[in-house]
Amino acid sequence: MTTVSPSAGQPEQARPAPARGFLPGLPRFAAYLLIAVGAVLTIAPFYFMFVFATHSRTEIFQLPPPTWFGDNLSANYQSLMDRVPFWRNLWNSLYLAVITTATTLFFCTLAGYAFAMYSFKGRNALFGLLLATMLVPGTLNIVPFALIMQALGWIDTPRALWIPGMASAFGIFLMRQYIGSAIPRELVEAARIDGATEFGIFRKIIVPLTGPAMATLGLVTFVQSWNGFLGPLIIFRSSETYTAPLALRTLQGIANTDWGALMCGVALTVVPLLILFAIASRQLIEGLTAGATKG
């Protein structure tokens, strides 16, 4: 696995400068300009999200559009709360993300431990099958997913979303990589000789030692659940059960949208993740790129 930045705990070493001129025709100032322009364009929509959240609907759509903060935030917030039970929707998102993350961590660590530490009949074939399931595009699953949840009577319940995703192939793959490389087998053997049960070994040795990988997988799972849209769109049918993205979609869908209120809601949906990202950007980036760059 390649990492984007040095892992925590290692002192950051100054990278040796790449051999001069390994990239033809891109002088340094051009590189800086490119990075700066890209960064500004990347940040701009977030900036306008905050700016618009503080302006009234009429102020947002005027010429020239506002580029600095206004004083309409509390009115926008009030308007948002009048239209949708937004704190309830945020709570639904949080509940779903937390329970998805907790169950995913448990089942993926358990299975990752089994694949990493045991040799059992059919292990490689089963792991191959597990990896193959990652290649199936979600396309084929959308309609039957909706129908099955209808048949089970799970419409409007969060479990329709967290139970199917509880043991994800990606998560098991990630945990197997980490456990196989970071935990010595002797530790497990020693515990076994001391008479620990298999699950006891998992609970007392594996779980405490997989903290970093769990944090990474947990963050990735949380973010994906928090941002999910198509799944919740199929499952949740009432403003009381909507997750935050669904509530935003409803607000936008009605005629006579109050854009100030909507932007306020957008900001409330995005800010928690921005905070999470500020705290743990490195781990999130590593986790999300790990699946693609197993080198």
Binding site: S5, L34, I43, T139, I142, A167, E189, R249
Partner: protein, 327 residues
């Protein structure tokens, strides 16, 4: 779990342990991995098989399973003779290219710039570029919806300001563009949002690829008198190819299953002239609005075939050989 009685023979090799401990050790891994496989059979494999079965049935969800009627390939022929289906497929393909290609054309030079030009700020810059990827697509699309506004939008205001700059002004349009209201601009608008979201992600993939190339190779090459271009051509490109393949494949598969961005940007409707209607969107509409589960199921298989075929072509072109042809 039941705790096993503690065996006192501490030095006995574990292989020879008998009874309960032996039984446990043999079957524990199967129990530990079983949740994944059980869930996969229930929520992964079974739905796909059911989807296949459904695609040959005529059925309105909500009328009970007994009302299914076998109609053979009719759902497939219905789709293949439906102009809207072809339009959605064309839109999907155009959007995949229109949003996919620029991502990589921007991400590769960006990755080089960050790799070669930044030391101290590298973590901050990668974090900034990664932000769009972890932000809710619905939230992003709603923001862009306002930015794209025809008369009062920030994007048109910015383009207008750029147009009034001497010298480079000619590069920018003089008139306001009706981004989401005019047929020609719906797809570029959606593509812009997708490009904005995934360029940083791809930059990160390429950057990790660049960082994985051993420095000694460049040093050895420059000792041997290789020019910068030669190092690039014979070291960087070939070693970057695997990651390039991964990144392009991900964009392709993701681009063909575009749903959220066009759905929000066109307010669920597909936009002017239905130019923003992707196949997944049309499938969702067929199922949710027209209650035509069989036709929607058949549509998903047709899209699956397209994705499979294009992925295969992509593998042939870039997977093992190709790319290294230079020029």
């Amino acid at each position: 779990m039941i705790a096993s009685p503690k065996t006192t023979s501490g030095s006995r090799p574990p292989r020879r342990a008998g009874g309960w401990a032996e039984f446990q050790r043999r079957y524990a891994p199967y129990i530990f991995i079983s949740p994944f496989f059980v869930l996969f059979f229930i929520f992964g494999l079974f739905p796909i098989l059911f989807n296949a079965y459904l695609s040959f049935q005529e059925w309105q969800p909500g009328t009970g399973l007994g009302d299914m009627k076998f109609v053979g390939f009719r759902n497939y022929t219905d789709n293949l003779t439906d102009p809207t289906f072809w339009l959605s497929l064309k839109n999907t393909a155009v959007l995949a290219v229109l949003s996919g290609l620029p991502q990589h054309l921007l991400a590769i030079p960006l990755a080089f710039a960050v790799y070669g030009g930044l030391k101290k700020l590298q973590n901050l810059v990668t974090a900034v570029y990664f932000l769009p990827y972890i932000t809710s697509i619905v939230a992003i699309s709603v923001i862009f919806f306002t930015l794209f506004s025809w008369q009062y939008g920030v994007i048109n205001a910015a383009l207008n300001a750029l147009h009034n700059i001497p010298l480079i002004g000619g590069l920018f349009p003089a008139d306001k563009i009706n981004w989401l209201g005019e047929k020609e601009y719906v797809q570029p608008s959606i593509a812009l949002v997708v490009i904005w979201r995934y360029t940083g992600w791809n930059m990160l993939l390429y950057l990790s690829g660049l960082q994985a190339i051993p420095k000694e190779l460049y040093e050895a090459a420059s000792v041997d008198g290789a020019t910068g271009w030669q190092s690039f051509r014979y070291i960087t490109l070939p070693l970057l190819r695997p990651i390039m393949f991964v990144a392009v494949t991900l964009s392709l598969i993701g681009g063909l299953q575009l749903f959220e961005e066009p759905f929000i940007l066109t307010n669920g409707g597909g936009g002017a002239g239905q130019a923003g209607l992707t196949t997944i969107m049309y499938m969702y509409r067929t199922y949710a609005s027209y209650s035509d589960a069989g036709v929607a199921a058949a549509m998903s298989w047709l899209l699956f075939l397209v994705i499979g075929a294009l992925t295969l072509i992509n593998n042939r072109l870039f997977g093992r050989s190709g790319m290294a042809g230079g020029n």
